[in-house]
């Protein structure tokens, strides 16, 4: 796939079999965040978007429910309320300045998309329609509010398509099915500066070095560290892993969101928009159990809470089904009309994959690993941080791979599609401003050397371990020990597992020795990133001895603001293969930015 699809404005040169390109800005990842950045960057600087998937295959397209913005199109609303909900929803671990920006710029972000062509559902007056979503309330928690702008139940699909369409319009350069494997850093006055990225062109198997002044990471999440997940097979956290291996910190990695309503056993998501439209969770006896846990907003409580309640219902024997291992999402009272027009896709998912027709029967659901709140730390300008406050010049991150942190310890539904648009746009704009006044940082001697060595070691390995076996064990163990509920013991168990898997990974061998389209090789590399990230998640989780948002410690069931009202910063500081994770992972804290809202108890 020669994928300088769109008028490749840079000629590449080939040295020792490695192709060299030069662009002002390189964007890694063509999901929502990457393409939103490209739309800003493309017209202002020579830009390339590198993606391991065709842009429209990115997982932004799977998002269903909506994108929040206080447009007040259907009822009174304000961005301040949205800010408050975001902060409360994130269990106060949210940087409030960032949340304020998110909520304020949300309105423009939605209008931008509409003006770019996104076909939102409409109100009778022809304005963008809005629906309810978990945790979004009027006047600081009084009642659910209609804030989520949506396009049926394929909002993410429409966002991804609209952004891609506008990239086509702008003639953005895409390098599709190029897999970025390394960030190139050059020492400038003793400080490592980013100077480019190294990628493998999957179609040809050849290496490409992209030298650039600014680099934006927008590589999405890493839900594949879990078995049951709403995430795509390709969400293996490569971008986050690359940053990690460079010794740059990762923030709040212990916070992973489990979405309450994944199709039981499969993890395929049924949007919260279903509950926004009035669907109800019931246990085996048909009880609407959320009434007990969140009397005010019931089924529309934030995801962390609903997921925990569901797991608890099942744990206490009130699960439905022959194994009593799931609860039921009851949409039957919504009627065929609402299901077919407002929730057509999820209706079809239930029919196709479980053979259950939501019009007549409740759908079996269980929490599914969904969203990484943590990731590459950035400031509100989307600049990547080297420590608590020093930026890495020219390096940006946006989207799920980044941690701004607007989601704190638990993201509200619809805030991620918002995040990718608001901070994707900021990353693009700031990168353009940055590249105007700087020169290219020179590349080191043979910048692809590290990647070549990595690829060769896997390709030439004569070991006996199989990628799929290791990956399955990792995912099973993560589900078992680091899912909705965690304890020191369960986390210790999985730490052990990860260490042994890492050792076995050294011995991993692949069968496909070919050059072109070697997805066997790709999966092996991805597994390496998954192992790295799982270790950081678990290590960070073990360190946080409290329960907050998406991180629920059974042995420390209370939130502990005194000791833990701060972000975790994890650094790779030693030989990643040392047996004790503490030997190579160093944890530090970063204060939470508070502006207006003091932490309160989180009741709904």
């Amino acid at each position: 796939m020669s994928t300088d699809t769109v008028n490749p404005s840079s000629e590449s040169t080939v040295v020792d079999g490695v192709h060299y390109h030069q662009f002002d800005i390189v964007i890694v990842g063509a999901g929502g965040a990457g393409m939103r950045a490209a739309i800003e960057a493309g017209p202002g600087a020579r830009t390339a978007v590198i993606s391991k998937l065709y842009p429209t295959r990115s997982h932004t397209g799977a998002a269903q429910g909506g994108m929040a913005a206080a447009l007040a199109n259907v009822e009174e609303d304000s961005w301040e309320w949205h800010t408050f909900d975001t902060i409360k929803g994130g269990d106060y671990l949210v940087d409030q300045d960032a949340a304020e920006i998110l909520a304020k710029e949300a309105i423009d972000a939605v209008i931008d998309l509409e003006n770019m062509g996104l076909p939102f559902n409409r109100t009778p007056e022809g304005k963008i329609d809005q629906r309810r979503f978990g945790g979004h309330t009027r006047d600081h928690g009084k009642a659910p509010v209609r804030r989520a702008c949506y396009a049926a139940d394929r909002t993410g699909h429409m966002i991804l398509q609209t952004l891609f369409q506008n990239c086509v319009k702008l003639g953005i350069n895409f390098f599709n099915e190029y897999y970025v494997l390394d960030l190139v850093m050059t020492d400038v006055d003793g400080v490592p500066q980013p100077s480019g990225v190294v990628a493998i062109d999957l179609a040809s198997g050849e290496l490409h070095v992209f030298q650039s002044k600014a680099i934006i990471f927008a590589t999405g999440g890493f839900g594949k560290i879990y078995k049951t997940t709403s995430n795509a097979h390709t969400l293996t956290g490569d971008g986050v892993g690359i940053i990690w291996r460079k010794g740059l910190p990762l923030e709040d990695m212990e916070f992973f969101q489990f979405h309450p309503t994944g199709l039981a056993g499969l993890g395929i998501l049924l949007t919260e928009g279903a509950r926004g439209e009035g669907a109800i969770l019931r246990n085996a006896s048909g009880e609407r159990f959320m009434e007990r846990y969140a009397p005010t907003i019931k089924d529309l409580a934030p995801r962390d809470i609903v997921s925990r309640c569901m797991v608890q219902e099942v744990a206490e024997g009130r699960g439905a089904g022959p194994h009593k291992d799931y609860v039921l999402l009851d949409c039957t009272h919504l009627g065929a009309e609402v299901l077919e027009t407002k929730l057509p896709d999820i209706t079809e998912f239930a029919r196709t994959y479980l053979g259950v027709d939501p019009v007549y029967e409740p759908v079996p659901v269980m929490p599914t690993a969904h969203y990484a709140m943590g990731g590459i730390p950035t400031n509100v300008s989307a600049e990547v941080l080297r420590d608590n406050d020093t930026v890495v010049p020219g390096l940006y991150a946006a989207g799920e791979c980044a941690c701004v942190s607007v989601h704190g310890s638990n993201r509200l539904g619809t805030n991620s599609l918002l995040d990718i648009n608001v901070f994707g746009k900021r990353a693009g704009n700031n990168a353009v401003a940055y590249v105007q006044n700087v020169d290219f940082t020179p590349l080191p001697e043979d910048p692809a050397a590290g990647v070549r060595a990595l690829l060769d070691s896997v390709r030439d390995s004569t070991g006996t371990e199989r990628v799929a076996v290791l990956r399955k064990e990792l995912q099973d163990e993560m589900d078992r020990n680091a899912q909705v509920f965690r304890t020191d013991e369960s986390l210790a168990n999985v730490t052990q597992t990860i260490h042994s898997l890492r050792e076995r990974y050294r011995n991993v061998a692949i069968q496909d020795k070919g050059k072109r389209f070697n997805t066997d090789l790709l999966e092996a590399i991805e597994l390496g990133f998954l192992l790295d990230l799982a270790e950081v998640v678990v290590f960070s989780a073990r360190n946080r001895e409290e329960s907050r948002g998406g991180h629920m410690r059974d042995d420390f069931p209370k939130r502990d603001d005194e000791n833990y009202m701060k972000h975790t910063m994890a650094y790779l500081s030693g030989d990643p293969h040392s047996s004790d994770a503490a030997d190579h992972i160093t944890l530090d804290w970063k204060p939470v930015v508070m502006t207006r809202y003091q932490p309160m108890e989180r009741k709904y």
């Binding site: 699809t5 769109v6 008028n7 086509v168 003639g171």
Partner: protein
């Protein structure tokens, strides 16, 4: 944006790497089109000949009758039946295509209409074939 237009993509060089594989298992729509195309071509070639033989009326009655006489042999009689079958199918399915193109519900009922075409074709042929074959073999 690509400088290539979709209309000028050169695929020739890659031909060899575009092997066919199994036969595509299309449904009514595809098979109806295959039949339409085959019958159309068959009728076209028949028509070429038919105009020529009819033109013999300009040469002389003897010449015309000599050639047209062959139409009355049993073999040609069967061939003519096949030809009529082809024309009838092509004509009815042509109407189906026109309905698909111009009638707003045509797309929805295209499969049903295909079976109607087949039904009408059978009925027409039941009306035509015995009569015609009787004429052919009746002497």
């Amino acid at each position: 944006m690509s400088q290539q237009t979709a209309g000028t993509l050169t695929t020739e060089t890659k031909r060899s790497s575009r092997p066919g594989g199994t036969l595509y298992r299309g449904r009514e729509g595809m098979w109806s089109w295959v039949l339409h195309r085959v019958t159309g071509v068959a009728i076209f070639f028949f028509l070429l000949v038919h105009v020529l033989d009819t033109a013999l009326v300009r040469v002389s009655p003897e010449a015309y009758n000599a050639v047209i006489g062959t139409y009355q042999t049993p073999i040609m009689g069967l061939g003519e039946t096949a030809l009529v079958a082809a024309i009838v199918y092509h004509a009815f399915n042509g109407i189906r295509i026109i309905l698909i193109d111009f009638w707003s519900n045509g797309v929805k009922y295209q499969k049903l209409m295909f079976w109607i075409v087949i039904g009408l074709w059978v009925i027409t042929m039941l009306g035509f074939a015995p009569r015609h074959l009787m004429n052919v073999f009746g002497h």
